[in-house]
Amino acid sequence: MAKRSAPEVNAGSMADIAFLLLIFFLVTTTIPKDSGITRKLPPIEENDEDVIIKEKNIFTVLINDKDQLLVEDELMEIKNLRAAAVKFLDNGGDGTCSYCQGAKDPKSSDNPDKAIISLKNNRMTSYKAYITVQNELVAAYNELRNRRALEIGPKKGFSDMTFIEMEKAYDDPKFIGNKDKLKEVIEQIKIEIPQKLSEVE
């Protein structure tokens, strides 16, 4: 019997497969987005009126030219900074802050609204050390905001959501739920625990 030649493979569906793959990649690929720590610089004040802030309401963090950390004039390791900042912000010394769980030490900050973290740096401080410290301070604020979110969230119908998750959900177009209400909760937390971080030159 004669040898049969191999039948030709039908390539008509190849284009379909190619388009399928193309669409798959189109949908799944995300273009990398920049992210970072957002800050607002203070405007240059025309008047030189000194605003009187009590010493106890200021938490000074200084990074020197050797990238060493001085917190309230004492040397501190970076790993302890977050806890120290939380302790300072959460103190609630004057008793007006009902959601604070701190020590209520009269020598420390009055309430989160009055508490200011002042971050100072030297000209020779390295940028990486500065960012690490910024990151820890933002983490301290986020820790308190997350805790507060878990407290008031369930009452407004957003249970088991931290502050970070709330903000993410607010920006998520697929979020099912009441966005106006969510915004209210986010704003309330932002007012209760404001980020008062001053960067001194």
């Binding site: 019997m1 004669a2 040898k3 049969r4 030649s5 191999a6 030709e8 493979v9 390539a11 190849m14 284009a15 190619a18 388009f19 793959l21 193309l22 990649f25 189109l26 690929t29 273009i31 990398p32 987005k33 920049d34 992210s35 970072g36 720590i37 957002t38 800050r39 607002k40 610089l41 203070p42 405007p43 240059i44 990074i63 990238d67 970076i78 790993k79 740096n121 030297n122 000209r123 020779m124 401080t125 390295s126 940028y127 990486k128 050390a129 500065y130 960012i131 690490t132 910024q134 990151n135 820890e136 933002v138 983490a139 986020n142 960067e199 030159e201």
Partner: protein, 159 residues
Amino acid sequence: MSKFKSKKDNSLPAVNTASLPDIVFMLLFFFMVVTVMREDELKILNRLPQADQIEKLDKKYPISYIYVGKPAKGYEKYGSEARMQLNDKLADISEVQAFINAERSALREELVPKLTVSLKVDREANMGIVGDIKKELRKASAFRINYTTAAGDAKKNLD
């Protein structure tokens, strides 16, 4: 039995290449989609520090980029100190205000106050130059800034 004898020769048929254009187009589209256009060619080293408490920079609002770092390979003539790059050339600190104003003039009026300045600073740079840039930005009333970082454990920066 010549009736059943194949008229074709017995060699293998050529591979069908009709779908080759499809494959090529697919690859083309794939690379078109994943490629990020770099706005500026960097003349400086730019290894961003890591941080984990970061927010995404929203592309809805206009962003201007300021790069800071040591001059890269091939640009050693600019010295070994950290320098600032605006658009595609190394610039002096005093040019920040003019740069911000130029960026603003390219924007629609309602977007001008929303302009965010993304500071892409090399991890080894000193805070001196960053402080100077911040001072200039304040003078130019560009208050929204973002210390652009990579995602990661911040404590690894110090190792």
